[in-house]
């Protein structure tokens, strides 16, 4: 499904990785590992096409994501470090405007159910700025659930989530895998997943070819 071909990433003057290749197929879960600053976020942003790699390319169903952008983005959803929450919109409107970017016009009731599932019942009308850090992240979980994407790319999805939140995230990933979807994620806080998991480790390399 997704294939990374000998990616190389340089930030500032540091070579983070080079010749990095891997692929993710249907119903596969993959963790990107590495210590702080090893380049996980950079890698994920390259996979998304938000950043150009110094070398190599990312393929989606056999085609480069550059030439294939539309179909790739229809099937992929990315959740990064940043919360994407508009302070002035309500929780419901926030989810809706995230879905709008994917041209998904869902009924209110569906969104409300999703919000309930992520523990934001009765918060529909609260404005974004009045949310705690964990509640902000939970909005993203609702979005993820509703986004109808095959490939999830998650950068530290457990940030700020409490114990129930972590459980929820885990079961969401398992369900998604069950349904044939694939997940690429990073996390420093042990995610307990009852399934096979592949992993890519980013370490230190020093020279650029």
């Amino acid at each position: 499904m997704l294939e990374a071909q000998s990616l190389e990433c340089v930030r500032d003057d540091r070579l983070l990785f080079s010749g990095l290749s891997f692929s993710v197929s249907d119903a596969e879960v993959m963790q990107i590992e590495g210590h702080n600053g090893s380049g996980k976020t950079s890698l994920l942003r390259i996979i998304c096409g938000l950043r150009q790699p110094e070398a190599g390319q990312v393929m989606w169903q056999g085609e480069s994501i550059k030439s294939n952008r539309e179909s790739y983005y229809e099937n992929m959803v990315y959740i990064g470090h940043l919360p994407c929450i508009k302070a002035d919109l309500t929780v419901l409107e926030n989810v809706r405007s995230l879905l709008d970017t994917r041209s998904l016009a869902l009924a209110n009731s569906i969104i409300e159910t999703a919000l309930e599932n992520v523990g934001l019942a009765s918060y529909e009308d609260v404005q974004g700025k009045a949310l705690s850090s964990g509640q902000r992240r939970r909005i993203l979980l609702a979005f993820l659930e509703l986004a109808q994407a095959k490939l999830w790319i998650l950068d530290e999805p457990l940030t700020a989530l409490d114990v129930q939140g972590v459980d929820l995230m885990e079961s969401m990933i398992l369900d998604h895998r069950q349904a044939g979807g694939s997940v690429i994620f990073t996390t420093h806080h042990g995610m307990q997943l009852d399934c096979e998991m592949r992993s890519v480790h980013l370490g230190h390399s020093n020279y650029q070819e």
Binding site: E70, G80, C84, T101
Partner: protein, 223 residues
């Protein structure tokens, strides 16, 4: 695709309407800056009249300039811009939606209030009408060109004044033709030339600026 346009347009409008006061802000800024001049210059009614078109146009330009960071900055900082760029819809359409919203929220109110200020500064009626036309044609261009500037500086830390440095030179032709149209109308001469120019620039920038903006976004927002 059209749907994507409307969704985003409405989101931005809703976001602005959420804070009513914010909606009024560029307007109030405009009015305040225009009023600063008579206060600072101690004019006779005649000098006031000569100054009026220039002052109003410069103030409108500054009001638009200041409201530009409404366009992408916030979206960049909270990560929403990433999501927009990951949308399956063409980025150009989304940019166009955001610019439309920006103009509806900034340019249009200015066009509406400007006649009042023109009368305050003792402009004759014909000049006021030309003022309206020139602003109607000119302010969308300000938003469109502004979008290019904002997208170029979106990743710059405190880009506010850098932005003006980039954009003001591009605004100058609009300013000159816009203010000149009013000047000429005040003198009772025909203004179709100036207005035609503004119209042509508008057509040109509607077709090219969103493209440039979306290219710029893909480059600058890579983090």
């Amino acid at each position: 695709m059209l749907k994507a346009y409307y969704y985003l347009l409405f989101r931005d409008l809703r976001l602005a309407l959420r804070n009513r006061h914010e909606l009024a802000n560029p307007l109030i800024f405009f009015v305040l800056v225009v009023t600063l001049f008579p206060l600072a210059v101690t004019p006779t009614p005649e000098t006031l009249q000569t100054m009026a078109p220039g002052v109003i146009w410069v103030s409108a330009l500054l009001a638009v300039l200041l409201s530009l960071d409404r366009l992408f900055k916030q979206d960049y900082e909270d990560g929403s811009l990433d999501q927009l760029m990951l949308s399956p819809n063409p980025l150009v359409i989304l940019v166009l939606a955001k610019v439309t919203a920006h103009w509806l929220l900034t340019g249009l109110p200015l066009v509406i209030i400007a006649p009042l200020l023109g009368l305050f500064m003792s402009l004759p009626m014909e000049a006021v009408i030309v003022l309206i036309y020139s602003l109607l044609l000119g302010t969308p261009v300000l938003s469109l060109i502004g979008a290019i500037g904002v997208s170029l500086t979106v990743a710059v830390n405190r880009g506010g004044v850098l932005l003006s440095l980039i954009i003001l030179p591009l605004y100058i032709p609009i300013l000159i033709f816009g203010a000149n149209a009013v000047d000429v109308a005040m003198a009772g001469l025909p203004v179709s030339g100036q207005l035609l120019f503004l119209g042509a620039v508008l057509a040109l920038s509607v077709s090219l600026a969103p493209l440039a903006t979306s290219v710029a976004l893909r480059i600058t927002a890579s983090r």
